[in-house]
């Protein structure tokens, strides 16, 4: 069985779910059921522990692995504080670091994210930094003790797919941590592509949450992630730039030459 061992957990569904954009939290249980999703990220800013009816956490299956995120943090200091609040509130020790100072494109601040990762990894968190795909910073994230790195495919909510393809490919090749593509994935085929490239998992929110039928779309993403993963494991033949000529150009060379 193909299991992703990460942050002290064994994960068998490599589609991770974001929860921020659904028309109703009440949709989330059906989305989880239809897709078999195991890892769910929740913005701590949205969780109201004092309001039973509107506490989003009540809609997330207890079997799921909760990945609170630091959405809204603009500095390492804010992200660290949000992570500590999440753990103190009983949300487990996983945390997805989002440090964003750019409200226009929502691109992460890699430097502040790295500082956050260093602090929280030391405190025993399983740290999942959301980052722009930069090899040098990814290495530093690894050295700082990140559980995985989460490069963006394209800006959050853009549904533009793997615009950062080459940079993500380099991370997959060079970083011996799970690479989880987070943000920008707009269609199941793009999720499959990321998995075929060797991504360990894919995190999707907008594309599922704003689909006409979020439950069906979650199921579609789950299948695409599985297909892409199997394709990767099966070892696809190398893509060839040119067709194989029936009269080879080097056919004149004999073994004796």
């Amino acid at each position: 069985m193909d299991i992703l061992k990460i942050g002290g957990q064994e994960i068998h569904n490599r589609l991770f779910l974001g929860t921020g954009k659904f028309a109703s939290d009440a949709l989330i249980p059906d989305v989880i059921k239809a897709s078999g999703v195991q890892v769910v990220t929740v913005a701590l800013r949205r969780v109201d522990f004092e309001n039973e009816q509107e506490n989003m956490l009540n809609y997330i299956d207890k079997e799921c692995v909760l990945m609170p995120n630091t959405s809204g943090a603009r500095t390492a200091d804010e992200a660290v504080r949000i992570a500590r609040i999440a753990r103190a509130a009983g949300c487990g020790n996983w945390v997805k670091i989002e440090v964003i100072k750019d409200n226009k494109y929502l691109l992460p601040d890699n430097y502040e994210t790295l500082k956050t990762t260093e602090i929280l990894a030391r405190e025993g968190f399983a740290v999942f930094p959301y980052m722009s795909p930069d090899l040098m910073v990814a290495r530093q994230m690894r050295d700082a003790g990140a559980a995985a790195v989460m490069p963006l495919g394209s800006p959050i909510g853009s549904n533009r797919g793997l615009q950062t393809r080459e940079l993500v490919r380099i991370l997959i090749d060079e970083i011996d941590l799970p690479i989880i593509v987070d943000a920008g994935i707009g269609r199941p085929s793009e999720a499959a592509e990321a998995m075929e490239m060797g991504a360990a998992a894919v995190l999707v929110n907008t594309a599922i949450a704003v689909a006409d039928d979020p439950v069906a779309m979650a199921a579609a993403f789950s299948m695409a992630v599985k297909a892409g993963r199997q394709g990767y494991l099966a070892g696809p033949g190398a893509a060839k730039l040119y067709a194989e000529a029936s009269s080879p150009l080097t056919g004149f060379l004999r073994d004796s030459d």
Partner: protein
């Protein structure tokens, strides 16, 4: 250079002529583009673009879904004081308006805050008139300290202040600031604001920037619709928002479109802004600034508000009351303006859900 200087350079433009010259084809081209320039934004505010409302609406809907999801943030206003030293011809708090005035005690503020928190809301907007001797920065800071026990976000809509004032309030736990310029056209501004510190156009215009510099997380702008030609006013508003968004990328910039409502006094709007026109300006802003928040207050009626949910709005007020202490012991009189959507928080939540969106009561936390 601040926005005052930028606006100064364009304020004498003959917007009327430019807007009339825009063709439907030009508007179509802007609607089709991935990004909208300042000129493109002006085109979207033209009468010609008004003939393309449905196309604009589809794009605005799509952009908002991608950027904000099927989610509407909720907040409610709470008036702390209606003392005011200004003489603004359109406002119920006008210093000349003979009415009983009141400033809530800190204990009263806490009591009303607790009542509001009981509805589940976690975002609060506190408001005052312009009378710092009645509602000082220290008073606002103290109120915020009490309210922070019940709310994850406290924003202010008070008189413009120096950066240090905003810094003190940020330190006290205020995370958002709203100030409406009311009118961008300086001549009309001067005419409508007869007396008081609000006569200082420039100090008010640069207040949002001072709030950004002081570290507010959210800054909300607006022009009071009905005081001047809306197309050039909304153009100025959009440029103002873009200026702040570009210069302070870590502050969330949002805009409001308050249409003048009846208030005490005899003021009648100089310009009537129709529903179609209000829709056009919301759509134009969304296409120009896809990441800007758009706030809609209870000045508008329930049916109209419900229909605007899908067109780009991201935040709405609910269970509003524009009278100081109105929730404690109010008699429904002497508010700043008349509320048009009187639905309770629970009714508002139900209506948003019914429209296919999630009402969100909490979207920040005390850290």
């Amino acid at each position: 250079m601040g926005f005052y200087e930028i606006y100064n350079e364009i304020k004498d433009t003959d917007f009327d002529r430019l807007l009339k010259e825009v063709t439907v084809q030009q508007a179509d081209r802007v609607i089709g583009d991935n990004t909208v320039s300042e000129t493109g934004f002006l085109n979207l505010l033209s009468p010609a673009a008004g003939e393309r409302l449905e196309t604009m609406a589809r794009k605005a809907h799509h952009l908002t879904l991608k950027n904000f999801g099927r989610v509407i943030g909720l907040y409610t206003p709470m008036y702390l004081s209606d003392f005011c030293t200004n003489e603004c011809v359109y406002c119920g708090f006008n210093t000349k308006n003979p009415m009983r005035r009141r400033t809530l005690s800190v204990a009263e503020v806490e009591r009303e805050g607790r009542m509001i928190a009981g509805t589940g809301l976690r975002h609060l907007l506190i408001l005052t008139g312009e009378a710092p001797h009645q509602a000082s920065v220290e008073y606002l800071a103290e109120c915020t300290g009490r309210l922070r026990k019940y709310f994850s976000s406290v924003s202010i809509e008070v008189y413009p202040m120096e950066t240090a004032g905003y810094q003190a309030l940020v330190a006290a736990g205020v995370d958002g600031m709203t100030v409406y310029q009311e009118v961008y056209d300086p001549e009309i501004y001067d005419r409508l604001h007869i007396k008081g510190p609000k006569k200082n156009y420039r100090f008010r215009l640069n207040a949002p920037e001072r709030a950004c510099q002081a570290g507010m997380r959210t800054v909300n702008l607006g022009a009071l619709l009905g005081l001047a030609d809306w197309r050039s006013e909304v153009f100025a508003l959009g440029l103002h928002a873009k200026y702040l968004q570009d210069k302070y990328p870590d502050t969330e910039i949002s805009v409001s479109f308050p249409r003048i409502r009846p208030a005490a006094g005899q003021f009648r709007p100089a310009v009537e802004v129709t529903d179609r026109e209000l829709v056009q300006m919301i759509l134009a802003i969304r296409l120009f600034l896809p990441r800007a928040g758009i706030t809609l207050s209870t000045r508008e009626n329930p049916d109209f508000r419900d229909n605007l949910i899908r067109l780009g709005v991201t935040k709405m007020s609910a269970g509003s009351c524009t009278e100081v202490g109105g929730r404690l012991d109010g008699d429904g009189h002497d508010g700043q303006f008349e509320i048009s959507d009187t639905r309770s928080v629970a009714e508002m939540k139900a209506a948003i859900l019914q429209n296919g969106y999630q009402p969100v009561s909490k979207d920040w936390l005390v850290i």
